[in-house]
Symmetry: none
Subunit: 416 residues, 2 copies
């Protein structure tokens, strides 16, 4: 089934923001065997929007709009859809009660404009949203369906998964899909592709996609279709295993998971399984490593805490790094990383201590310690601490993200 996506919001037409919802929707639709044949970014102007919605519904059987469902005057998607389909908007008493209750529960006064979010296209069903006050809508068109989703990515995702996807699945042809995943760390997309492409390029089914996430992590998705789920899984797993063997042979210990999960979760699973604990000491990452480790619930099972030792005095006072070592080797050094890791491990009485110290830039570099020089320290009870030296490139944000990820990967490898 062909689909078009309309991303609605004047703010998406400026020089700084891109519509990213459509990438996620495209992936989800592809998993249902549906193809996005055009995407549009449109302003919050009722007449223009109505014309675009009407034209899209005439071209393809499925049209998905994101955005413009908020409570404010410049949220025009409801009005435009009503104009485009020639149907009226009704104020829905159940939705109105729900919105009033949403505010009452939070003991906040409801701005009157919020009631606009209870306006439903006369022929539409609600797509409920429990993460905000903007529900979606699902409405028949002369030649198919129109879905209205909220614009904030969290809410869009929630409404899609809980309310829209089941309806789309009912429309999709009876076909089974299965996606096998390889999740990789500490490798570049092009290195992975150089190894994997000769294997995946020769076949259309599974279809292979390489995704690079901001963590940074690389994911390979092998999506197979067949008449039964078991047959699709056999196809997808078969290629995934073949590629995995080649990747390990060529690039070493880079596979961290067979599901789409952040490395921090995989580290947490391994620590929890061993009944072991972790403490972190962070300099250039400034708390990012701790934030990653506590992103997922259940972190208190294995994560005791950490020290953000942004200043040298914190390294001495809280982590027990010796002032002499700081004088001789400096804060960005192998010895300091090891001392930080061992210091935080002892301080928290943890099984493992993990430390990061480096130059994230743009300032702070010296001729012998350039921007991107980072040391990871790793300490385990009863063993001498170890370190890893990294020479990262890119801007401050990239160096910090890569430092946190490489630190997690180093620990992960020691938890085999």
């Amino acid at each position: 089934m062909k689909a078009e996506i309309l991303a609605i919001g004047t703010e998406l037409l400026g020089a700084t923001r891109l519509d990213t919802n459509s990438l996620e929707l495209t992936r989800e639709l592809a998993a249902l065997g549906m193809e996005v044949v055009a995407k549009h970014v449109l302003p919050d102007r009722t007449a223009d929007l109505a014309a675009s919605i009407a034209a899209a519904t005439a071209r393809v059987p499925l049209v998905i709009c994101t955005g413009g469902l908020g409570p404010t005057e410049d949220d025009r998607t409801r009005d435009a859809a009503a104009l485009a389909l020639g149907c009226s908007l009704l104020r829905d008493p159940v939705a109105e009660a729900w919105i009033r209750n949403f505010f009452a529960q939070r003991q906040r006064a409801m701005p009157p404009a919020n009631l606009r979010q209870a306006d439903r296209l006369a022929s539409a069903e609600w797509l409920p949203n429990t993460t905000g006050t903007a529900p979606g809508q699902w409405c028949p068109t002369p030649s198919g369906w129109l879905a209205l989703l909220p614009g904030p990515p969290r809410e869009m995702r929630h409404v899609f998964h809980n309310a829209l996807r089941p309806r789309l699945r009912a429309l999709a042809p009876p076909h089974a899909f299965f996606t096998s995943v390889l999740c990789l760390a500490s490798v570049s997309e092009s290195d992975v592709d150089a190894v994997a492409a000769p294997l995946y390029r020769v076949c259309d089914n599974p279809e292979t996609t390489i995704l690079a996430t901001g963590e940074p992590q690389i994911e390979l998705h092998f999506r197979a279709s067949a008449s039964t789920l078991a047959a699709a899984q056999a196809l997808a797993d078969g290629l995934a295993q073949q590629v995995e063997r080649q990747l390990i042979a060529a690039l070493g210990d880079v596979v961290i998971s067979h599901q789409s999960e952040p490395l921090a979760s995989a580290v947490g699973r391994r620590l929890a399984a061993r009944g072991q604990t972790l403490a972190v000491a962070e300099s250039c990452t400034g708390g990012l490593l701790g934030a990653r480790l506590t992103d997922s619930p259940g972190a208190s099972e294995f994560f005791l805490g950490g020290v953000i030792s942004y200043s040298n005095s914190a390294k001495v006072d809280l982590l027990g790094v010796s002032p002499e070592l700081l004088d001789s080797d400096g804060a960005v050094s192998a010895a300091c990383a090891e001392a930080m890791a061992e210091g935080v491990r002892r301080r928290f009485a943890a099984d493992w201590g993990l430390a990061v110290t480096g130059i994230a830039g743009p300032s702070g570099a010296t001729p012998s310690k350039p921007v991107g020089m980072v040391y990871i320290g790793l300490a385990a009870a009863g063993q001498p601490p170890k370190h890893l030296h990294l020479a990262l490139h890119g801007d401050r944000d990239r160096i910090r993200r890569f430092s946190a990820q490489r630190a997690l990967h180093e620990l992960f490898r020691h938890l085999r």
Copy 2:
């Protein structure tokens, strides 16, 4: 002058790639006083493309297409534009000679298909490209102009700057733009809109946009146009100041900046200006507050570091929270937040100590301490510590982000 941008290429309709050329074009057009009113991503299908180009040229005076000018079979933009405008394509002998020469100079054989790049719309002028073999085209339409630019960003940029911009400048009225910004924290988009809409709705110039970012922060952009920059600035600033006064009267101390910047940067600027330092103690945010504070360069001027006290023992051992207090009030309490803030302040000998403790969920709640209960502690030298109680809703990620942001805002307010 209104413009639409058509990004052409089936590869831009997958789940991984976004059209980024349009951001750059939007910025360049804005500098010429031209406004992008819609953007489209379209596949390499001649008939669909032709319909889209024809519709866009009917809607707006300026249509810019990027991509689909390459030498291969699936580069269809030339053919589609010819269909859309009802004009013929001519093989241009000068362009043909230029392409032949391009290959000859590089001592490479010319694939015959490359000659398609010498096909010009009968009524078009070339927009020369010296960085590749795909020249652009510039063609009158019944109600304005159609520009065809190559898709690779380097080539697009080159052709735009050298050939298209001079032509656009000749069309643009002498017009200047200025955008004033109000950056707000600890308020919802709908609360802001309830106050601001009565003021901004009555005028088209400045044009007002409300943006909600993930921090979470709200930004109001007031974009004014006039014949001179000073006049545009006066218009934009005038409305911004009026809205700011109303917001402060209705919602209190919510304006954090007059530029688009993260709250952590604004906090850092104020601390640095006072020559004061900060240390943080984090429980439920797990490092997020420290990560935010160190996102921008120069954080070492004011940020000494912190303690991630994810476990109770860390609160006692590193922050000096008394075990009796943890027994009587618990880790998620006003008293504990204050003790953490004062403890970390003393520990780092900082001017300010900022602490967060709370239930981020989904587990860990008790009847008296629900998910979303968060306490912020703030300590300053020579003053008794203070606290702020929050009852946040949403999922773990939202509660953590809001906790960090509200903590920063609490400190920010004390730095006036």
